[in-house]
């Protein structure tokens, strides 16, 4: 089960993920991010505090936006990943390519630094 809440805060777009992302629902994650990109958001946060699982289908969704993020100068940070979910990013070395932060404070700092 995956639950996705999206909202537009004053200075950034926020997507809250709850539950599990796998091949059966990664398209929902994709649509949420795509919507945020189409709305011309330049600062995007993903709250993964309540994300309990992610398979390669979910990782692939994030990876598929790296090109757009760079072209459109979109800053993108995922925060709150639990140890196991974080570990999946680590196995593939994707934590080197996608910004992961422990909590929202650190994520916002990353979003607006320099």
């Amino acid at each position: 089960m995956l639950q996705i809440e999206t909202s537009h805060e004053e200075k950034y777009a926020l997507i809250v993920l709850k539950g599990e992302v796998d091949a059966s629902n990664s398209v929902e994650l994709d649509e949420a991010i795509n919507g945020m990109v189409e709305d011309q958001n330049t600062h995007m946060l993903i709250d993964a505090t309540d994300l309990n699982y992610i398979s390669s289908a979910g990782l692939g969704v994030f990876m598929s936006y790296l090109e757009d993020f760079q072209e459109k100068s979109i800053r993108f940070v995922i925060f709150g990943l639990n140890d196991k979910v974080l570990h999946v990013f680590h196995i593939l070395g994707l934590d080197q390519l996608i910004k992961l932060k422990p909590d929202k404070v650190a994520a916002l700092q990353e979003l607006y630094e320099a």
Partner: protein, 138 residues
């Protein structure tokens, strides 16, 4: 002891697969992280079978059997679709994954990084993929 599960080829089965595997692995002498990893790898292979070999045709079935032999956990996944040998599959470059924006292409990489050994056999009709994790390896 052996544990068996039959999945029909629908992506909704993946959550059930995870539940099944959590139960099976519950008392195994491996860390929670290793359990998590192993569940992920088995799911990746099953998801590929469901999606790529069986086009999400829910009339098709795949079976999973989990066995503990000595220090090994063996996950045997059988199907009878067109055979796909993931040992022969060459993982894409990271740059390709990014460039093609293809929202996939990371599954087999994960399986290979997680499992200690992978075996594949096909008799032209039935395919068997065996994923092996050595229990004190990590």
């Amino acid at each position: 002891m052996k544990h068996r599960l039959t999945l029909y080829c629908d992506k909704s089965q993946l959550a059930d697969l995870r539940n099944f595997l959590s139960g099976v692995l519950k008392d195994k002498p491996i860390s929670d992280t290793t359990k998590f990893e192993v569940i992920l790898a088995v799911e990746e292979v099953c998801a590929n079978l469901i999606i790529h070999s069986h086009g999400c045709n829910s009339k098709d079935k795949i079976t999973l059997q989990v066995q503990e032999i000595d220090d090994k956990l063996i996950f045997e996944i059988k199907d009878s679709g067109k055979s796909f040998n993931l040992l022969e599959y060459q993982a894409p470059l990271l740059g390709d994954v990014i460039r093609e924006k293809r929202k996939g292409g990371l599954g087999i990489m994960l399986v290979k990084k997680i499992m200690d050994k992978i075996e594949f056999e096909s008799n032209g009709k039935d395919n068997t993929c065996r994923l092996i994790k050595i229990m004190d390896s990590k």
